[in-house]
Symmetry: C2
Subunit: 334 residues, 2 copies
């Protein structure tokens, strides 16, 4: 439920754009909003003048830096991302009356497909086959049958649920782990509380992280967690880089404590070319793209415009982030 | 329905083994069959002495070469493979009373997973990501959303059906193409006749070959077929190498007539290290392993023993190959 105040007349919408990137398609708002673009350098000056802010460049830290300055602040900030950890890194924004909404929903199915693809690629050792192809070598191997294996998905929001659903469709047994326990769930039977993870990890063939980054999930995949996994377990992270203690993951792979991992997100993005992560044996690296299917930016712009319609009409916004929890609670989605 | 004659007393079972490879686990037949092993060199001498033959090394041409010789022939030949093209390459075996059975069923789910993995890997450009990883380069790209794309699966036997089912579970719209039309089908709505393929190809994002190799399917993927596909189409072959006119596929890839392909089977296997196929841009090569998940040989041995039980009891065998059609017709499976 939003508590934003809708301005009289034509509101001013600030857009934190992608430098050199395509702006959002806001054609639908034509005549209904004065759109002002800002980049990292000009955001601070623009902030006092806007009624609402669209964080189109969600990889930028500009909001966190500009927000604490002087002057009025917009009552509504929408970010074109599922994660809101960057925005919530600004205590002044968290403590304000400003309503934050996010892009919950846009990335669910694409990320679920991406994770299913990674899981299958690891099960079937595509990486090994393509390395052998480079060497022009024919070497038959036996691979893993995916059906009947066991996955733990950490994150019970719409992305985690879509991942779980897709893996189940492939015959995988899935346990979902969320912040709090839900003893019954129509799709997954039950949702486990975060505290149950330690006991669940030893049974997993697959551990997938799709959690929001909060105080309690930061660094949750550390040496102790990897030590609980099977030596044949594979770990996939499509959440945030900071969910993982990267050195601990590298050590777990090098010592064969776990079998393999795939990371789409990193503590430092873009991953510097000098990072040791690029060539750890058994580690697959991709550049934070799991949710970004062709047309994703149009989907993000459309979703924002839908929420703008509500805002302009004085209706409750959807995808309102609980600034204490750090994500959109389940009941808030339309 | 089999018409084999069961011998009185303890029958002799010939096994064409894998040279240097593990023999099948036939423990269950202990005391109920005299098991004689042969390799490519000794099969001709053994054939007149066996009541049944298990073709454990299904990659061998030894049966085709040994069968035309003198003396009695076994009444039952079982091959530990889904494809029977090698056996049916022997006219004397085809023309005989000998019943052929195959491994129908063992490979369905593994191959379906493998194909789903390839399709997702191509949709998400994993190959590109891993090449960039080798170069330590971070390059974000937009990838394809799989749900809502359109696949044609050629082959309506259990392998083709399992592939279709798995792709549908991932949100893909699937058309199955078989030898003859079936206007209604509980899972796929309808099965198209082979003659409909030309008209279907222009609509496909994915074309998957999982057909038996017969006279009418040999070379079916040729320049004309690739010319009907979309420039964005991707082709996957898990059938037999001879389904594809390899030069035509290479030309279609080099001229960007189609976007990409993945081959698990080849006209010549193992693919010679000098083959040009190893480094065609957009072509993924794997060494005929799509169905071979851990434990597959045990599954194959168990399946043979199940059929042996029927044979020994004088009951109809399952998975009886129609030697004219070149595969097990639908109604024959148990």
């Amino acid at each position: 439920m939003s508590e934003t105040t809708v301005p009289a007349g034509i509101p001013t919408l600030g857009v934190l754009g992608v430098p050199g990137g395509d702006p959002p398609d806001l054609e639908r708002l034509s005549g209904r909003a004065r759109v002002e673009y800002a980049d990292e350098g000009s955001l601070a000056a623009l902030l006092p003048a806007v009624d609402a802010l669209l964080v189109w460049d969600f990889t930028s830290d500009a909001v966190r830096r500009a927000w604490p300055g002087a002057g009025p602040r917009p009552g509504w900030v929408h970010t074109a991302s599922a994660g809101v950890d960057r925005l919530l890194g600004c205590p002044e924004l968290v403590g304000s009356e400003t309503v934050i909404t996010n892009a919950r929903g846009v990335f669910d199915q694409p990320i679920a497909e991406y994770v299913a693809g990674l899981v299958l690629a690891l099960a079937k050792d595509f990486h090994g086959s393509w390395e052998l192809q480079r060497q022009r070598r024919w070497r038959h191997r036996e691979t893993m049958r995916l059906a009947g294996t066991h996955a733990i998905v950490v994150g019970s929001g719409p992305i985690g649920r879509a991942i779980g659903r897709t893996l189940m469709a492939l015959g995988v047994e899935v346990e979902l782990v969320g912040r709090r326990e839900r003893p019954t769930d129509p799709e997954f039977g039950r949702i486990h509380a975060g505290g149950a993870l330690d006991a669940l990890l030893p049974s997993a063939d697959w551990v997938v992280c799709a959690a929001p980054l909060t105080e309690s999930t930061t660094g949750m995949f550390d040496a102790a967690a990897f030590a609980r996994m099977k030596p044949t377990a594979r770990f996939v992270n499509v959440g945030r880089g900071a969910h993982v203690v990267q050195e601990d993951l590298v050590e777990a792979l090098l010592s064969h404590r776990i079998a393999a991992a795939a990371l789409d997100v990193f503590a430092d993005e873009p991953l510097p070319s000098g990072s040791p992560l690029w060539d750890v044996p058994g580690l697959l690296v991709s550049p934070h793209m799991s949710g970004d299917t062709v047309g994703w930016r149009d989907d993000l712009a459309r979703q924002f415009c839908d929420n703008f319609d509500r805002w302009a009409a004085g209706e409750p916004l959807f995808n309102v982030v609980d600034k204490q929890l750090g994500y959109v609670p389940d009941r808030s989605a339309p």
